[in-house]
Point group: C2
Chain length 298, copies 2
Amino acid sequence: MELKSYLNAQRSIIEAALEHYLLRKCTSRYLSGPIQYALMAAGKRLRPVLCLAAATAVGGQTEAGAAMPAACAIEMIHTYSLIHDDLPALDNDDLRRGQPTCHVKFGEASAVLSGDALLNMAFEVLSEAGLQSSASQSRTWMKVIDTIGKASGCLGMIEGQARDIAFEGIRISSEDLQAMHQLKTGALIRASVRSGALLGGGSEEQVTRLEQYAENIGLAFQVVDDILNITGDPDKLGKAVGTDADRRKNTYPALLGLEASQHFSSALIDSALQALSIFDNNADPLRAIAHYIVERNR
Amino acid sequence: MELKSYLNAQRSIIEAALEHYLLRKCTSRYLSGPIQYALMAAGKRLRPVLCLAAATAVGGQTEAGAAMPAACAIEMIHTYSLIHDDLPALDNDDLRRGQPTCHVKFGEASAVLSGDALLNMAFEVLSEAGLQSSASQSRTWMKVIDTIGKASGCLGMIEGQARDIAFEGIRISSEDLQAMHQLKTGALIRASVRSGALLGGGSEEQVTRLEQYAENIGLAFQVVDDILNITGDPDKLGKAVGTDADRRKNTYPALLGLEASQHFSSALIDSALQALSIFDNNADPLRAIAHYIVERNR
């Protein structure tokens, strides 16, 4: 399959759905500007793409649409976490993908409230989808709300953010680094795939296999990110390289060495593909995404 | 009925339930401290008390317990909104009820993330309750998630917070003031009562009447707060008076005059009691709370 055109097509339908939600749910005089700015900024839309692709893997292309509210809700949660992470009190980042961050453009008060609003909006979207569905599908939506809530909360993403801040300037073990990433980014990636698989009508075995896939690619994505900060081409990456070493950041290459990190990322991708072995070609988008993660920017 | 002992008893069972949720849902190395500090600080627990009292009004005392997860979720949302409102970028308050605010005690990064975690935790608690209930009650929980999500989001509380900040230093109309309060505090108070009534098994008419009650007492509470800032006894209130006038804040007395504000608050309470006329003595706690709102600190 041609991954690039697949990703572009998926991004378009996801962004159309996000725009649609904003029009209905965010008529705020004061916050629609910053919320629109943050949510509609250019991005990979990795989490919603994975959510829809997981629904396709278990139920075929026609089932993917059923997972769209979950895909959008997860992108809202991801976006809110970026807005709050960028705040002066946290990472204090002025730029994201070359654009001023939300608080730089709209002020800190708006950034705090817009992040809050996006987290809240995610659950509005999910419960609305649950109310509009049949009784049996409504039960599945409740599972999805539970899945996403646990993944993004203080047993998941938020705890990862807290650890990331606490670890700053401290040399940690590779186990601590892995646990931090599994919480900070892994938990929500896993929830994306699990939600899509549940809404696509996947069996218990299918859901479990897809979660294994997600766990592996989530970690691989982070390891490759760390590697590219050393070996990457700044023009292709669209950002500077060598910055992690300058900031003495805890990264896989710093803790394991470059070569061992490269082996680790390949092994993770192999495990991800292995987890997909029970699926037919409806899982090809997920396979292509796994290959893409290690091969990007080579 | 003896309101004071009723309120004390309700507060005790609500706080025990909140503690129980924290023990299970907040094992975070970094955030359990600030979350515990903010959520378990002394407070009126008005929203959860109203939620349980609404369940009692429609279903009797035995039904109140069924609404406890909703009562706790709403208190978590209320608490997160206070943590974020107190931040330097928003109201910049160092003290709340005489204690250092969350960011003063634990730092801004922890305060931002703890607020996020409490908002998220509210939906974790709600979906967990939904999953643990029967199929028909699960549908009611979905309605409760929808109710609370809409009330606390950017068509509700968050928009009220944004307007409150935007109105600072500007003289506004009493209509704008009322709309702001209905969003900032009214929406969640109304959702508290609606959630309790839904979970208690209330009929459509009962739910509607209780929402009218909530709308009236929510606004009355705010008007009386404004009045007490002029006429109150600082010792009884536990806070300074006259501060609103000093800060040229938009208040009901400033916009309508003191006497008209007093009439307005009494009229609101009359309307609240009128909305309860279809209920038997199971609604007595709600009636007593309405009286208490105008009579406190006299």
